[in-house]
């Protein structure tokens, strides 16, 4: 039992986590003929709360309630894993990543997200504007424009051998590489890191 607890509180390796995430695809298909996708939930929230007669948001969102319930579950799962079976140690990322991030002023690995960025004090500062407001906007706008995110395109789309999803995934990566290697440094300097 002790060994089990130790194992379950350690960070899970990729070859455990990846296949478990992949299993979501057949589980959702067989349980209710649902296609795995998460970013659509943001659209359903728009349709539910502020449709504003926009054709893109005037559809029967009640049919898509499962998707909202699913993401509420993801939130609860995050709470469960953090509260009951969280890893007591600090996050260990590659040495080279630690060096790169230290150069940007990020050195606190005590939690899943760097405390220097993700805290309420930063909300009404340039840091909050960049990482919460602009970052979130790009995620919401981009995923809907692309018609899906990592789950809908990279995992569900490529698993079902749809080439438009391969294109989308390639451009997710292109955007991410550009932000990380070119824009992130200057932007972080600009907001006071």
């Amino acid at each position: 039992m002790e060994q089990f607890i130790e194992w379950i509180t350690q960070p899970w390796p990729w070859y455990v986590a990846g296949p478990l995430i992949g299993l979501t695809v057949p589980i959702l298909l067989l349980v209710g003929n649902k296609s795995f996708g998460i970013s659509s939930s943001l659209r359903h929230v728009c349709a539910m709360c502020v449709p504003a007669n926009i054709p893109f948001f005037t559809y029967n969102w009640r049919k898509e309630m499962w998707n909202i319930v699913f993401v509420v579950g993801v939130l609860l799962g995050g709470f469960f894993a953090t509260t009951f079976i969280s890893n007591p140690d600090t996050i260990v990322v590659a040495e080279s990543t630690q060096q790169d991030l230290a150069a940007l002023g990020i050195t606190d690995y005590s939690k899943l997200l760097p405390a220097e960025i993700f805290n309420w004090e930063n909300l009404f500062t340039g840091k909050g504007l960049l990482f919460f407001v602009i970052g979130g906007f790009l995620v919401g706008f981009g995923t809907r424009y692309a018609g899906g995110c990592t789950s809908g395109h990279a995992i569900m789309g490529i698993s079902s051998l749809q080439w438009p999803s391969v294109v989308a995934t390639i451009f997710f990566m292109v955007g991410g590489f550009l932000m990380t290697h070119v824009l992130l440094g200057p932007l972080m300097k600009m907001v006071g890191f």
């Binding site: 070859y15 296949p19 349980v31 898509e64 909050g128 995923t143 990592t150 809908g152």
Partner: protein, 160 residues
Amino acid sequence: MKVEEKVKNIQPVECEAPNMQESKDGLLKYLIIGILFGTVFVKAEIVSWFRIQEMFRLQSFFMYGVIGSAIAVGALSIFLIKKFNIKTMKGETVNIPKKEFRKGQIIGGFIFGLGWALTGACPGPLFAQIGSGFTVILVTLVSAIAGTWVYGRFSDKLPN
């Protein structure tokens, strides 16, 4: 006019993943699947901003292993479902909507990539981060919903 046609007129834009409506108790299973999924997200540190940085800096195989093995398992499952014509629990034939190519997959995909590297999260991990106690990510989520809304508002004016 047939009923289907009427419905089509009321719903000019169908959702990417059209589905049948579920009863209230039928929804519980999606809550449970979501909880398991969110647990994996946190336990494998996929929701960690640090892991996403590591991935985009090509300094660890970790995230590539996660996404790659998820795709492999997903693809194998879909292959088996099709090959053996496995039905859903209700006995329906499994239906996977076809994704049409649009310019949005390039432009929107690129824009999402920028945001992914900033927030360290795609939409799924955003929810798990909030659950993990990073309540400030609620702001990011609201902003992501606003981004989705702005796309919907101007989608007819954007190259598609």
